[in-house]
């Protein structure tokens, strides 16, 4: 089974969890980033999206697309997992927000060249797809000058990621930095994380200029997330657990 099939199956299994959280996530009017709920208003990675054509790559149940639509964007949500898009379709009806839902691998979408102003991913293609495939695909989809913004696990956090997915990060570096790319998990799923040098090279080779990187820190009063507890608030106060990257397609 390929990592794409394993990743799709894994997300299908999480349907119940997704259904439970879908309504709450779709109802959000203010958006915040990641485990520590850092407000987008504070980061400003996405910026003004009104009237932008946006593609969300690895959208899951597409709540970011919903938020972008409310802000005046025209989103297209792309995901590999039919059950996630089914939930997204239900939410669209419930919330009266319509936008295209496309079942596709974000490494190779059926969407036309140069048709978007912003490509976006939050723990979607940004970790579940091979950056040497999905980043060039994002470049293909973007118009010249278009932006790519995505969130992923932090590079340093991935060096500390234990094999056992129920175990928590410690201060020990368990993976080599040189050559870091694909992380295979015992259940057959795979994630992708590059070191900073390779990551920057991958973006440049695909025609992007790096705009910014944010490494997110858990605030002093943060509590460990009840579900995503692989990283404790204590760890994430000291070291970066999540990163946001922003790049611009060279005109």
């Amino acid at each position: 089974m390929s990592y794409l099939e394993a990743n799709r199956e894994n997300w299908a299994k999480l349907r119940e969890f997704q259904e439970r959280t879908a309504r709450r996530n779709w109802a959000k009017t203010e958006f915040d980033w990641g485990l520590w709920k850092v407000p987008e208003a504070e980061i400003g990675a996405v910026g003004d999206v009104s009237d932008l054509d946006v593609v969300e790559l690895g959208s899951g149940i597409a709540y970011w697309s919903a938020w972008l639509a409310r802000r005046g964007a025209r989103p297209v949500a792309v995901d590999l997992t039919p059950s996630q898009l089914e939930i997204a379709a239900l939410m669209q009806q419930e919330f009266g927000l319509e936008f295209p839902l496309v079942e596709a691998n974000a490494e190779q979408t059926p969407l036309p060249d140069a048709s978007f102003d912003l490509a976006f991913s939050e723990y979607g293609a940004s970790i579940w797809c091979d950056p040497y495939k999905w980043i060039p695909e994002a470049a293909r989809l973007l118009r010249p000058g278009g932006r790519l913004v995505y969130m992923k696990n932090a590079t340093i956090a991935m060096l500390c990621a234990p094999e056992d997915e129920d175990a928590q990060l410690t201060a020990d570096l368990l993976h080599d930095y040189f050559g870091m790319h694909r992380f295979d998990w015992p259940d057959g799923t795979a994630e992708f994380h590059l070191g900073f040098g390779d990551h920057i090279r991958c973006l440049r080779d695909a025609g992007f200029e790096l705009e910014n990187v944010w490494e997110l820190q858990a605030p002093a009063d943060a509590q460990t997330h009840p579900v995503y507890n692989y990283v404790t608030a204590e760890w994430a106060r000291q070291w970066p657990s999540e990163e946001i990257w922003a790049a611009r397609k060279v005109a």
Partner: protein, 248 residues
Amino acid sequence: MDSSSLTEHAARNQAHWDRDAADYQRRNAEHIACGEAWGVWQIPESELNVLGDVAGLDVLEAGCGAAQWGIALARRGARMTGLDLSEQQLAHARAAGADFPLVHATAEALPFADESFDVVFADHGAYTFTDPYLSIPEAARVLRPGGLLAFSHNSPIDSLCWDEPSQTMLPQLRRPYFDLHREEWGDHITFNLPYSKWIQLFGANGLAVEALIELRPAAEATSTYRDDTDHAWARRFPMDEIWKLRKR
């Protein structure tokens, strides 16, 4: 130069280098003699091609020490300027035959006009021993549009993994990350930042990131700066790295 205008850390680093210059050059002479090689593990410029063709370009080395790099680049046709805060280091540069301007000053306040260089570079030089919030804007200021800033320094991961009690590198995060800035070593001070803070600082000064070259020593590499334990660590994690930046 008037040392009363130096920042406190610059004055301490100046005293350190004036004291250590002779011993430093003796300890490392053979290892760094070739000039055109980067960092702790002396990876050849011919392999990395960071600076490109420097013939006819105005090139500033910020923290030139005994000018091993500058002498080699001048031979390739660069119009070199060497800058160092240590008069003792510059004395070594003169003794080595550097026949280009050697300027005694800190990279935190460069005594050059705006847009006067095509290339500013350092190899574990100024951008290790100065506060980047002072020295990076200065580098950007003296570069011409389209000019190159390239510097090597210890990676942020290296800064995190130094174990003070055992005086060795561990595959373990030994200190917090987010406040990474000033590093006290008793007789001198170095500086580092989180990756994102470097990138934000470059962006704020009109410097586009072209590459981050993380240096990995060959399996058989040795260094006068580091021991076998460090080498084993550096095979797994980036100990030093080169930022390659283009002024917009």
